[in-house]
């Protein structure tokens, strides 16, 4: 009983930290550009497999190369997705939705064809564990929580203090007014998608060592990000962080307290449906969905 309670707390916190990174990026792109990026899970997948590929082919040293390459590539891909696919179709909601969906599919197939369609696992980024009140806690877990805490803080500071961050907020408020003020809206949107892709990349690197590597995981990442953002309120960054932890504790509760891992995949849809029916603007959202 105590064991499962501790598992619940630890794994809920870990997953919450990861989800926070994912949902923050997803929400940011929506809040700034009105784009619901169906390829968000694909960003995760790209980093995940680059990381894995480097590790397999370059050994222990490959972990570091994998992190660097994975993050750089995914950020660039994020920019390219915006410039080549989303921007030309911006006037057509249907077009953006389908094209990012197709891109997500494409990445899944590229992974299957170029690597393989099987499940794999990765080693922890740092070995060892420490004892907290008699409970063994992996050092990697601590890394995950600390790293994501730092990154969430940095991104929040960046958006609120840095010059680009201010432009991002201006575009989020009123793109037309921002462009009249001389802000290049397309460039800001490209940056926003890149930030979001980068965050998804970080999430992948932190989470993959304790999760699986498989071609289909992008979809559950996408659905979970969507559910969290619907829960926290579309476009609200604090909302997505809070939503991330609510979701992950709910998930951990089902897994470690109720022992019903099978239904944990149902949580996001239940959350989505409930929120959309009961409170469509989410916990923190300012505007209703329209």
């Amino acid at each position: 009983m105590i064991d499962s309670l501790i598992n619940f707390l630890i794994l809920g916190t870990i997953q919450g930290s990861i989800y926070a990174l994912l949902a923050m990026g997803f929400s940011l792109v929506y809040g700034v550009g009105g784009i619901l990026n169906q390829a968000h899970g694909a960003f995760y997948l790209i980093t995940c497999y680059l990381f894995y590929w480097c590790y397999i082919n370059l050994g222990g040293f490959g972990l570091i190369v994998g992190i660097v390459v994975g993050l750089i590539v995914v950020t660039v891909v994020g920019g390219l997705v915006y410039i080549l696919l989303v921007k030309p179709l911006k006037d057509s909601h249907v077009g953006v939705v389908i094209v990012t969906f197709a891109f997500a599919f494409l990445i899944e197939q590229v992974v299957k064809v170029s690597v393989d369609p099987l499940y794999h696992s990765m080693p922890l980024l740092i070995e060892g564990s420490i004892n907290v009140f008699g409970v063994k806690v992996l050092n990697h877990y601590i890394l995950v929580v600390v790293a994501s805490l730092v990154i969430v803080t940095l991104i929040t500071l960046f958006i609120n203090k840095a010059k680009i961050g201010k432009s991002i907020r201006a575009v989020a408020q009123d793109a037309e007014a921002a462009s009249l003020m001389g802000i290049n809206v397309d460039r800001i949107l490209a940056y926003t998608v890149m930030i979001s892709a980068f965050l998804a990349g970080i999430a992948a690197i932190l989470y993959v060592p304790i999760d699986i590597v498989a071609p289909h995981i992008g979809w559950s990442i996408l659905i979970n990000s969507f559910a969290i953002v619907v829960l926290g309120g579309l476009g609200s960054l604090p909302g997505s962080v809070l939503g991330a932890f609510i979701m992950s504790y709910a998930n951990a509760f089902v897994n470690f307290i109720l022992f019903m891992p099978e239904i944990s995949a149902l949580i996001p849809i239940v959350v989505i449906l409930f929120m959309l029916i009961l409170r469509p603007r989410g916990l923190f959202g300012k505007k209703e969905i329209d």
Binding site: Q38, V97, V99, Q109, K112, I223, E262, L266
Partner: protein, 343 residues
């Protein structure tokens, strides 16, 4: 507003003149030629393998047309079309396998249940617009996939009813429409023709006008005094009906279904087929499905590679050729036609 009513123009009012007008158009001639051509295929070959491919192509045509109806004419982009396909597929398969219902009755019941799912999806979908709807429906199909995959449900069901419904195997060993592939071919052909006819007719009717209005401007439609909620639900039910028809046929064609039919993959198939044919065309789905099924057959041994190619095709079509193939092709053929006739 008494003064403004004057009779301005004549409109064809009865079916005969409507039909005469229709058949005189170039599109109608092409449609008729295509249908005749398709009905002649079994005369050329009775090879079950070939006829089977054609049957598959026709099933996918119905499925993609049901998506195109919803997205192209009502503006509701669903990524969960697979839900209808799967639900009806499961019901049809189950009724045939365990209750020994005749295939047509199973198909009808399966499709009706898909309509009910149209209602179930339609109601929350009313709160969702544009991309939310897409993601919401995607989530819905993933959930169906998970539910049907559940091992615990499988055991529970088996203990309660002694049959297999849930679980990875799905419902298998279904008898097809007929052991004679020619009969199977013609049954599917008939169902496809009728489905496309009804869908096309709906888009041209008064209800279709309202659907298109919702697609173009939902707020404006409500300002025109239309209860958009009612019509959106109706659209989901119609779309569900035909996707359900495709699902039942699918189950019989492949002798069974498994949870895989609920995957986003099948929704993706519908989208790529409709996009290749051209959005908002209904019959364009036939061209898209033809390419899709035959290309898929050629790349059969490398399924992942073929999906990779299809993803690229879809991206290119949406990005560069939003009209798809149907309209441009018809225009080319018409030019040729005019030249041949020396006009």
């Amino acid at each position: 507003m008494r003064i403004i009513i004057k009779k301005i123009a004549e409109f064809p009012s009865n079916f005969q003149s409507y039909f005469r007008d229709w058949i005189s158009t170039f599109r109608a001639k092409v449609t008729v030629i295509c249908l005749i051509g398709l009905s002649l295929v079994p005369l050329l070959t009775q090879n079950p393998y070939f006829l089977g491919i054609f049957t598959t192509f026709m099933i996918f045509t119905i499925f993609a047309a049901s998506w195109d109806f919803l997205a192209g004419f009502v503006g509701q982009v669903s990524f969960g079309q697979a839900v209808f396909l799967g639900v009806s597929g499961y019901v049809t398969a189950y009724l045939i396998r365990y209750l020994s219902f005749p295939w047509w009755l199973s198909l009808v019941i399966g499709s009706i249940i898909a309509v009910i799912f149209g209602l179930i999806i339609g109601i929350p979908a009313l709160r969702l617009k544009g991309p939310y709807l897409a993601l919401g429906t995607l989530a819905m199909s993933l959930i169906m996939y998970q539910v049907f995959l559940m091992g615990s449900l499988a055991t529970m069901w088996e203990n309660a009813f002694g049959t297999n419904l849930f679980g990875a195997e799905g419902v298998s060993q279904i008898t097809p429409i007929s052991s004679d592939t020619v009969v199977e071919y013609f049954a599917t052909f008939l169902i496809m023709s009728v489905s496309l006819l009804i869908l096309t007719h709906i888009t041209k009717s008064n209800v279709g006008t309202i659907f298109k209005a919702i697609r173009d401007d939902e707020t404006g439609t409500s300002a025109s005094g239309i209860n958009t909620t009612k019509y959106k639900i109706l659209a989901f039910m119609i779309s569900g009906l035909f996707a359900g028809v495709a699902g039942g046929l699918f189950a019989m064609r492949f002798r069974g279904v498994n949870p895989g039919v609920f995957q986003p993959l099948y929704s993706f198939y519908a989208i790529i087929i409709a996009a290749m044919g051209g959005l908002a065309t209904i019959s364009g789905s036939a061209i898209g499905a033809l390419i899709f099924v035959f290309l898929g057959e050629i790349l059969r041994d490398t399924q992942d590679l073929s999906l990779l190619i299809f993803s690229i095709i879809l991206i290119l079509f949406i990005r560069f050729a939003e009209h798809g193939l149907l309209k441009p092709t018809l225009e080319r053929i018409q030019e040729l036609w005019d030249i041949v006739l020396g006009r």
